[in-house]
């Protein structure tokens, strides 16, 4: 069992979280959120990996003749990417609007909503 991909996934996720928590720029923060999501891609693909297996495409391989990696996690990853694209696009649009209305994208200077 390969532990490395799982460690990479955890590391990428925590790096993204650190970036979010310490961010001084909202565009950077949205990027960090995308980094967190990349950890889920790594984890999902690692879960489906098999030694010596090929891609789950049966155009030139007879089903059952050799092992293939798990296609379910690949479908999940694709769905996940679609979700991520939507979230990133919407959040960047909101950042754009924040820049217009507040004149800054530094979260330290956005202090209207507190208490």
């Amino acid at each position: 069992m390969h532990v490395l991909p799982y460690l990479v996934a955890a590391y990428v996720f925590l790096t993204g979280c650190y970036g979010l928590a310490a961010s001084r720029n909202l565009i950077h923060a949205v990027g960090c959120l995308a980094v967190c999501q990349c950890a889920t891609y790594v984890l999902l693909l690692a879960v489906g990996y098999r030694d010596g297996a090929t891609a789950p495409v049966f155009s030139d391989v007879k089903p059952g003749s050799r092992p293939v990696v798990d296609p379910v996690v690949q479908a999940l990853t694709l769905t996940d990417i679609v979700v991520g694209a939507t979230v990133t696009a919407l959040l960047l649009a909101l950042v754009l609007q924040i820049a217009k209305r507040h004149g800054t994208i530094d979260p330290d200077e956005l202090r209207e909503l507190r208490g």
Partner: protein, 588 residues
């Protein structure tokens, strides 16, 4: 009948697509009527399915049935709680659409129907999440529901606060959702299944003699982090007051009335079907985790609620407090607790949505939702004032509202000192809303003095086009209907028993509990109502003593409006949740 369940998500999504495609050519009235038709049709479908939900139904979407007990299809479940939540979400969406009939500005020509379309997507996503029977599908609808909610929160994109609140909401909720997906991936790695019930059986089969291991604990913490962010448990709750204070009022009705509660529902569903077996998380650990977090949430929410003067923010904080009570009730893992929470949730949805609707009337009339600035100015709005007072009393637990019945049942289930938490927390939140009623609608007490370091609600943009000449009938009818519905939950004979039976059939290990008014419960409800009235009276007559803002200043300073802080708190919360659930895994 079970073939119709996926339509609960598909019909509103289709309606939204139709509106987006034809919105340019439709008049506003035509667009909104289309919205009513699709939303109402889904609500009717949910109710019909709900009436036929005994015994519980399941459906593999598109006929992808399991082969040799292994499946990759999408499973939807149609049991009482799932269809009940779908029906609640649909009916509240319908109410919010009716409320916003004359509420917003005439939208620009090319955007006709965009608000209605977003509301329909929101409805479809909530229904889809409620009936999801496999975890990945639940994640997708969870994220769809979140994304639409960010868009709706920031709907008035020209308002500085709205876009800021929407961004904090977006970042925190999406991060929670990704944590949930990590947990789902770990569960899939262990069991090779995505359907919740099958994951549960897979965990039991894979568990060694030592019980659950680190992977189960990690996946439990990650999945619950996502759900608790949505359910606004402390310390995952910071996004909620920011988002609710700035979202348009009809959206607040849905966010507070049902979306947040879907998080609690998700916790109940996921624990009950995935982690409740011998290979999952031991019951004692779940009880410790949920009761601790729930109590913290309830107390924090109540304190934050008491010290707010921005009325929508105050109502949002009261939602945090009530979610804490729901989590405590679910955490004790008894059939009575589940039944009580289900009834409490139904009653709360109607009351909270009605209170937000009344706050929307204030915003329209005066361009302000600030308790201090509005002191005595709303005397003429008698109907709204009466509804606000009734809502406040119902929030505190005035019998025979549904909130009171649910609270009484849950109080008996939790027992001991937790009963006191229920009484005090509901009294404080109800008292805060009663205080607002007394000051704003009756002009009682001295005019409060200005204090520093507060978020006031006085520079809010009105959401209506200028000032409406008179309050549209829909804006007063909708809260009245919602309050009546909340009352009906408590008084319609047999309704409580029906809810209890369907909840226990779907979960609670098959044990059945009976639900009815008891003398003990009525006494506790009366106690919290009286306490709420006393607190409100004290606050109005002695504003200095009862509402000195500096006493809760440390707690309020945590609510910093800074996205980075909220993310840091989310990580702290996940670690805390792990620590609370750890003993069972170590001792297993």
């Amino acid at each position: 009948m079970h073939h119709l369940i996926p339509l609960l998500a598909a019909v509103p999504l289709f309606g939204a697509a139709l509106l987006v495609a034809t919105g340019r050519r439709l008049s506003r009235a035509a667009a909104e009527i289309t919205g009513f038709v699709f939303s109402g049709g889904t609500a009717a479908l949910a109710l019909v399915l709900l009436l036929n939900s005994a015994p519980p139904m399941t459906e593999w979407v598109g006929g992808w049935l399991p082969v040799d007990a292994e499946s990759v299809g999408i499973l939807v479940v149609g049991d009482g709680p799932a269809l009940g939540m779908a029906a609640l979400a649909s009916l509240l969406t319908l109410a919010a659409l009716a409320y916003s009939w004359r509420y917003f500005d005439q939208p620009p020509r090319e955007r006709t129907g965009s608000f209605t379309a977003l509301m329909l997507v929101f409805q479809g996503a909530m229904c889809g999440f409620a009936v999801a029977g496999d975890l990945f599908n639940a994640f997708v609808f969870f994220e769809l529901m979140s994304v639409v909610a960010y868009a709706l929160t920031g709907y008035r994109i020209d308002e500085a606060k709205a876009v800021q609140g929407a961004l904090a909401f977006g970042v925190v909720n999406s991060l929670g959702a990704y944590a949930m997906l990590m947990g789902i991936a770990l569960l899939y790695a262990r069991t090779g299944e995505l359907a919740m019930a099958k994951i549960g059986r897979g965990l039991d089969a894979a568990a060694g003699p030592g019980g659950p291991d680190a992977l189960v604990l990690a996946s439990f913490v990650l999945v619950l982090t996502g759900l608790l962010v949505k359910a606004t448990a402390v310390p995952f709750h910071f996004w909620l007051p920011d988002a609710h204070a700035v979202a348009p009022t009809p959206v607040c009705m849905l966010l507070s009335g049902v979306m947040v509660e879907l998080g609690s529902y998700g916790v109940w569903r996921v624990y009950g079907t995935v982690f409740a077996g011998p290979g999952g998380i031991p019951a004692a650990d779940l009880t410790r985790a949920l009761v601790t977090l729930g109590t913290l949430t309830a107390v924090t929410g109540a304190v934050m609620c008491w010290y707010q003067r921005h009325i929508k923010r105050l109502l949002a904080c009261s939602t945090v407090a009530h979610t804490g009570l729901f989590l405590v009730g679910l955490g004790v893992l008894t059939p009575e607790g589940d039944d009580g929470v289900a009834l409490y949730l139904l009653g709360h949805a109607g009351v909270k949505a009605a209170l937000f609707a009344c706050a929307g009337v204030l915003l329209d009339r005066f361009g302000s939702v600030d308790e201090h600035a509005l002191h005595g100015r709303a005397r003429r709005l008698r109907a709204t004032g009466v509804m606000f007072a009734v809502g406040a009393a119902a929030l505190a637990g005035l019998p025979p509202f549904g909130t009171a019945l649910g609270k009484a049942v849950a109080e008996e289930a939790v027992g001991g000192p937790l009963t006191a938490v229920y009484v005090v927390v509901s009294a404080i939140t109800g008292g805060a809303v009663l205080r607002v009623t007394a000051r704003v609608f009756l002009g009682l007490g001295p005019r409060p003095q200005e204090a520093e370091y507060e978020i006031s609600g006085s520079d809010e943009e009105p959401e209506t086009s200028g000032r409406l000449r008179r309050i549209p009938d829909t804006m007063t009818t909708v809260p009245a209907v919602l309050l009546a519905a909340s009352l009906a939950v408590g008084v319609v004979p047999g309704f409580g028993a029906l809810v209890a039976r369907s909840v226990n059939e779907a979960g609670s290990g098959g044990a059945h509990a009976s639900v009815h008014w008891t003398g003990h419960g009525l006494l506790l409800d009366a106690a919290s109502t009286v306490l709420a009235a006393a607190l409100a009276g004290l606050a109005v007559t002695r504003p200095r003593r009862a509402a000195a803002p500096d006493r809760a200043a440390p707690l309020r300073r945590l609510q910093s409006g800074h996205v980075g802080d909220y993310v840091a708190w989310l990580l702290v919360g996940a670690a805390f949740l792990g620590a609370l659930a750890l003993p069972g895994v170590l001792g297993g």
